[in-house]
C-alpha cells in the first residue's frame, strides 16, 4: 500500500466513526457552555441590576465567539470536503452553528451598550443564541454518518 492509500484508508476509518473528532467536540463545548452561562448572567443582571453581571455576560459572549469561530471554520471545511457521508447532518450543524455565531456577534454588540441599555434585547438574544448552540451540539453529537453515506 502506498503512503497515500494508507493515509486515505486511515481517513476513511476515522470518518466511519460516528460523531465529532475529540478536538472538535472540545471546541464546540466552549460556545455551548459560555453562551449558556452568558444567558444565566443576563438573567442575574435583569433581576438585580448589578452592573458586574452585564460585564461578565459580555466577556462570556466574547469567549464563546472566539472559540466558536474555530468550530464554525471546522464545520465549514467538513461540509465542503465530505459531501457523501452524513452530509445532511453536517449541513444542519453548520447552519445552526453559523446562525449561533452571527446572532452571538449581534449579542456582543448589544452588550457593548451602556448598562441597562443592554436590556431586554441582550437577554432575548442570549436566549436565542443559547438555544442555537444547544441545537448545534445536539445535531453534532447525534452521530451523523453512522448509517448513511455508504
Amino acid at each position: 500500500m502506498t503512503v497515500k492509500a494508507e493515509g486515505a484508508a486511515r481517513m476513511s476509518e476515522r470518518l466511519s466513526r460516528p460523531g465529532l473528532p475529540a478536538l472538535h467536540a472540545i471546541l464546540l463545548a466552549f460556545p455551548v457552555a459560555l453562551f449558556t452561562t452568558a444567558l444565566v448572567t443576563d438573567i442575574a443582571y435583569f433581576n438585580t441590576a448589578q452592573i458586574q453581571w452585564a460585564n461578565f455576560a459580555s466577556w462570556l459572549i466574547a469567549g464563546g465567539l472566539f472559540v466558536g469561530a474555530f468550530a464554525v471554520l471546522w464545520a465549514l471545511v467538513d461540509v465542503v470536503r465530505w459531501r457523501s457521508r452524513g452530509a445532511r447532518g453536517r449541513v444542519v450543524y453548520l447552519v445552526s452553528l453559523l446562525a449561533m455565531w452571527v446572532l452571538g456577534f449581534v449579542d456582543a454588540l448589544v452588550h457593548a451598550k451602556d448598562a441597562w441599555a443592554v436590556m431586554p434585547a441582550g437577554l432575548y438574544l442570549s436566549g436565542v443564541v443559547t438555544i442555537l448552540a444547544l441545537v448545534a451540539a445536539w445535531v453534532a453529537h447525534s452521530g451523523w454518518g453512522a448509517g448513511d453515506g455508504q
Binding site: I26, L28, A29, F30, V32, A33, L34, T36, T37, Q52, N55, F56, W59, G63, A137, H141
Partner: protein
C-alpha cells in the same frame, strides 16, 4: 464479555446525562486559567473576581458531572469492567478534589 453495549443509568429520555454536563466544568476550568493569565499580565482585580466565579461554576458543574458519572459507573457492571472507565474516574477525582478542598 456479554454482547450488549454498556448502559447508562443516569439518563433522560434514553440520553446519558454525564456527557451533557462535562463540557461545562471543562470550559469553566480552562476559562478560569485563561482569565488568571489575563490577571497576571494586566493586574486588574476584576479578573481575579471573574476567575473566582468561573472556578465556582466549574466545581459545581464538576460535582454534577461526577454524580451522573458515578451513577453510570455503579449502575452497570459492564462499565466497571472497562479499564478506561476506572482510569477516567480516578484521574478526574485526582484532578478535581484538590480544587474542592
Amino acid at each position: 464479555m456479554s454482547d450488549r453495549n454498556p448502559r447508562s443509568t443516569a439518563k433522560i429520555a434514553g440520553h446519558p446525562l454525564h456527557p451533557m454536563i462535562i463540557p461545562f466544568p471543562i470550559v469553566f476550568f480552562v476559562s478560569a486559567f485563561a482569565v488568571d493569565l489575563v490577571y497576571l499580565s494586566q493586574g486588574d482585580p476584576v479578573w481575579a473576581l471573574a476567575a473566582m466565579w468561573l472556578l465556582g461554576a466549574g466545581l459545581v458543574t464538576a460535582a454534577l458531572a461526577a454524580l451522573a458519572g458515578l451513577t453510570d459507573f455503579f449502575g452497570d457492571r459492564q462499565i466497571r469492567a472497562l479499564r478506561p472507565a476506572w482510569m477516567h474516574m480516578i484521574g478526574n477525582v485526582v484532578a478535581v478534589l484538590p480544587r474542592e478542598a
